[in-house]
């Protein structure tokens, strides 16, 4: 699958699509980037008069690039495979730096294993200065059906 085909299979749209482009993907790793639109709705409330990207949104961004894109690639590249859906099952993330509205972040993920339909990855997010913003592990089940 090409990077463009993977993006077209993502089941998200604005305001919940957190992937702009993929720089690289192969069967072991993926890297991509996203720029946080300063007009995203959650900045109005997180926090009042002091917008910072919520940790759950950083986690979601890492999941969309690092887990979902890689899961679509791996399932779509399998011999009999159709691009599957990826259901998030676990996250363990440490947060090091804040991400402000308008910042561009890069996410890299490395497959730890993909067995019995479970994809488990190490993920890391960096800001434009190259500083690590957050990192950890994310896993999910690659299925044929959504929500199943």
């Amino acid at each position: 699958m090409t990077k463009q085909e993977i993006l077209s299979h993502l089941p998200y749209s604005k305001p919940f699509l957190f992937v702009d482009e993929l720089q690289h993907i192969d069967e072991n790793s993926v890297s991509g980037s996203y720029t946080f639109d300063k007009d995203l709705d959650f900045y109005k409330g997180h926090f009042k008069d002091n917008p910072v990207t919520p940790g759950v949104i950083l986690t979601e961004t890492m999941a969309q690039i690092g887990l979902v894109c890689l899961g679509i690639f791996l399932s779509g590249s399998a011999a009999s495979g159709l691009p599957g859906h990826v259901m998030l099952t676990a996250t363990a993330i440490d947060f090091m730096k804040p991400v402000f509205p308008g910042e561009k972040v890069s996410v890299t993920a490395e497959k730890v294993y993909f067995r019995f339909k479970k994809l488990h990855c190490n993920v890391q997010m960096s800001n434009e200065a190259g500083e690590v913003v957050c990192k950890g592990t994310i896993s999910g089940m690659v299925t044929n059906k959504m929500n199943a």
Partner: protein
């Protein structure tokens, strides 16, 4: 029940302990125990259990066998098959 089977149940119990909150059901674990229904384990953690079983028993479990491993008894049957296949004769 053979001693070997009871030992396998005990080993499975140790593995499963990390993935279930239902300690009451875990205490009563037996061959009929269903990982998903009785121990409230999700499909992702079921994969973790199978991976831990591979390591604990030094065996490799294929996709078809993994799909059978929904209960303790079925898991022991798979482990026994794989252990038997591993022996040189």
């Amino acid at each position: 029940m053979t001693i070997a089977r009871q030992e396998m149940i005990n080993q499975l119990k140790l593995i499963v302990d990390a993935y279930t909150e239902n300690k009451t059901a875990l205490e009563q674990i037996n061959e009929q125990t269903d990982f998903i229904k009785d121990l409230n384990i999700n499909s992702a953690n079921l994969v973790d259990i199978v991976l831990d079983v591979e390591q604990a028993f030094d065996i490799e479990i294929d996709n078809t066998s993994m799909e059978r491993m929904l209960t303790v008894g079925a898991s022991i049957a798979v482990i026994e098959e794989k252990l038997a296949a591993k022996k040189p004769d």
